[in-house]
């Protein structure tokens, strides 16, 4: 039973960055800008988060462990800053959004490792001693089962994912901004004729995606790793993209898909000790999220579920 609890709790930890980055992708794509740069933005966030945490360690020695918290905020800011490149290219220059995203992914690989070498004289950041620490939530952790999975020895960052899902749902469906965001991604010309500034909406969408991807990257490194390396994110940005598609571009869809993918990763780790699936090769579980996304795409293909105008540069003069 203890194994099950720890598996489920670990699945939450692995799901967190997928969900948060997936929500980032949601803001961008709902505004009409495809963002395959999530991976690269997560790398920037992860690098910034780890660097800040390492550099702040002497400051907070013995005292409050504020380092990682400041780390994730900086990671968020850096993600937002880098995403400005994508916004400028996609919105102002009508660039091909896939090319722009690819460029940023390449840039992340080069820039984070280059900076690590400048700052730490090695291909990665120094190891941080104080990443996020697990905690027990008082009272709630006493609840049977639920308390064991959700509230015992758990990273506080897990709750950020859940809170962000609710906030995103509220913003996208219950606020004027959300309406504008969705309309910019569905029919930018119609929204323009209603007096909505499509360019500005798309900028906000892309910057939010950068901030959330940066946050996700920082959380991922600071909870699952001991330092940032170029392999630290290892495709999670693309899994987040998969979760966005699998979740049909909806906040709660992203949550469920993210939990599902996170759990499948955990099963992969534990697979050798689970009798029923111990015969399956570990690769099977690694392939799983990617294969299921392709299957989901085939199933969705008959219906339009994604934002209609996603990927199309908005040109005011064009009709």
């Amino acid at each position: 039973m203890d194994t099950l609890y720890s598996m489920l709790a670990l699945a939450l930890v692995y799901s967190t960055p997928i969900i948060i980055a997936g929500l980032g992708g949601l803001f961008s794509e709902r505004s009409g800008v495809v963002n395959i740069a999530l991976e690269g933005l997560m790398m920037f966030g992860g690098f910034a988060g780890a660097t800040v945490t390492v550099l702040l360690e002497p400051t907070f020695e013995g005292g409050a462990h504020l380092g990682p918290w400041i780390g994730v905020v900086v990671g968020m800011a850096v993600g937002a800053l880098i995403s400005l490149i994508h916004a400028f290219l996609s919105v102002n220059l009508n660039a091909d959004q896939v090319i722009s995203g690819t460029g940023i992914n390449l840039f992340a690989v080069g820039a984070t490792v280059y900076l690590a070498q400048i700052i730490f004289n090695q291909q990665r950041t120094d190891a941080f001693k104080q990443g996020f620490s697990k905690l027990n939530v008082p009272v709630l952790s006493e609840i049977p089962f639920i308390g064991d999975v959700f509230f015992s020895r758990i990273y506080p960052t897990v709750y950020i994912a859940f809170i962000l899902v609710i906030v995103t749902w509220f913003v996208v469906y219950k606020t004027p901004f959300g309406l504008r965001l969705r309309s910019a991604g569905e029919n930018p010309h119609a929204s323009d004729s209603m007096g909505i500034n499509v360019y500005r909406i798309r900028y906000v969408g892309v910057i939010l995606s950068g901030a959330l991807a940066g946050l996700a990257g920082a959380i991922m490194i600071l909870t699952q790793d001991i330092q940032y390396t170029v392999f630290g994110i290892h495709g999670t940005g693309f899994i987040a993209l998969a979760a966005l598609i699998f979740g049909k571009w909806k906040p709660f869809g992203v949550l469920y898909a993210g939990l599902f993918f996170g759990f499948s990763q955990i099963i992969g780790i534990y697979s050798t000790s689970i009798p029923l699936i111990s015969g399956l090769p570990g690769e099977f579980f690694k392939i799983f999220p990617y294969a299921i996304t392709i299957i989901a795409l085939i199933i969705f293909s008959s219906r339009t579920v994604g934002p209609k105008a996603a990927g199309e540069p908005y040109d005011k003069g064009k009709r």
């Binding site: 460029g103 840039f107 280059y114 392999f231």
Partner: protein, 376 residues
């Protein structure tokens, strides 16, 4: 001798000519700006930008400028061989991405196709025992076929279900990474890192070429690269199929209306793209190395291919030149590291070049402005 009849010089309009000129100007400007970004970053971080050009010089043509006149040996042919070893696969993944581009498809999956091609060649090389004349071509063709099959899947899904090839090929890259690892480990004699060496009869390695370049890993694969470049050019420029592909790339609906089988062409196009990438994998597995490898992460050949195709303006000759440029940058990496420059500056430069190519519209606007002034 009769006077030559004055041929009417191209019926192209001035605008079309200008477009064509931009096709060369934009990549050149992007390369220039990309290097500029690299130089600025180096200056900001207190490194000598000239070192990058010294490393490039040494990494490509083997001349160490710092040693000229010192009496030490300043030329080493090994670097030329290694430079070509670095360039060949990315020229091929460049062709792969470029070929798909011509049909209006974005092949982000060259990486996965490469891995499958790599496995296909190794499988034949490890499992069979045949005379070279059959074994080697069979290994190469199997690799090419495996790449093509991996390209078939996104092509088929795009044609039949209208599933976007960008997302599918990204996912296929990861599936290929783990699937190929599983297959490699399943080959007899493999451990968790690599397979047993392929039979000599299925290897592209060459003592002759190696000796010629002072013990580099240069191998016969270069002939396959040349053949691939010619095939690319022939298909695109000289066949009706190539014309249909280009036509579909310009306007899918018009092509359909004109009676072309656009859906079928999408599948063929992705398969051919996959074949080029598969060949890149062949060169790596039975050329550069002579064994298959278990990889923990993708090595980025596919993404380099995207850069090559974009900078090379999706043509054969452009992919060759861009492949050599980026291959040179990659080859110079260890030399930079030795001089205290983080090797990743080259990745930053390549990324910056891609980002500037994406700014095509912006760069073109600036040149258009000059042009209108000129016309006035």
């Amino acid at each position: 001798m009769p006077a030559k009849v004055q041929q009417p010089k191209a019926t192209m309009s001035r605008d079309a000519l200008w477009e064509k000129r931009m096709n060369t100007i934009v990549p050149l400007v992007a390369i220039f700006l990309g290097f500029l970004v690299g130089i600025l970053i180096m200056l900001f971080t207190g490194r000598d930008p000239l070192d990058i050009f010294r490393a490039l010089m040494r990494g490509t043509i083997g001349i160490d400028t710092t040693l000229i006149g010192t009496g030490s040996l300043w030329f080493n042919a090994r670097y030329i061989g290694e430079f070509l070893v670095f360039s060949m696969p990315i020229i091929l993944t460049g062709l792969s991405v470029a070929f798909a581009f011509r049909t209006g498809l974005f092949n982000i999956g060259a990486e996965g196709q490469l891995l499958m091609g790599s496995f296909g060649a190794v499988m034949i090389g490890v499992l069979l025992d045949l005379p070279t004349i059959i074994h080697l071509p069979l290994a190469v063709l199997t690799g090419v076929l495996f790449g093509a099959l991996w390209g078939f899947i996104p092509g088929f899904l795009k044609a039949k279900f209208n599933v976007h090839e960008v997302v599918v090929t990204i996912m296929m890259n990861y599936i290929a990474l783990y699937f190929a690892n599983y297959l490699v480990k399943a080959l007899p004699g493999s451990d968790n890192v690599k397979t047993v060496p392929v039979a000599e009869s299925a290897s592209l390695a060459s003592d002759f070429l190696s000796n010629l370049t002072n013990n580099s890993r240069f191998h016969w694969g270069f002939i396959l690269v040349i053949i691939a470049l010619i095939i690319f050019w022939l298909i695109i420029e000289k066949t009706i199929f190539g014309f249909e592909l280009r036509s579909a790339g310009f306007n899918k609906h018009a092509s359909k209306y004109a009676g072309m089988k656009v859906d079928r062409n999408i599948i063929y196009s992705m398969m051919i793209a996959g074949a080029f990438a598969g060949l890149a994998g062949v060169l790596i597995s039975i050329g550069t190395f002579d064994y298959g490898r278990v990889l923990s992460v993708n090595e980025g050949y596919g993404f380099d291919g995207i850069a090559v195709a974009l900078v090379g303006n999706t043509s054969a000759i452009g992919s060759l030149l861009a492949g050599l440029l980026f291959g040179g940058l990659k080859a110079a990496q260890p030399l930079m590291q030795a001089r205290g420059i983080p090797r990743d500056i080259t990745n930053i430069i390549i990324a910056a070049i891609v980002i500037f190519v994406a700014m095509r519209a912006g760069i073109k606007q600036i040149f258009d402005r000059f042009r209108t002034k000129e016309v006035e």
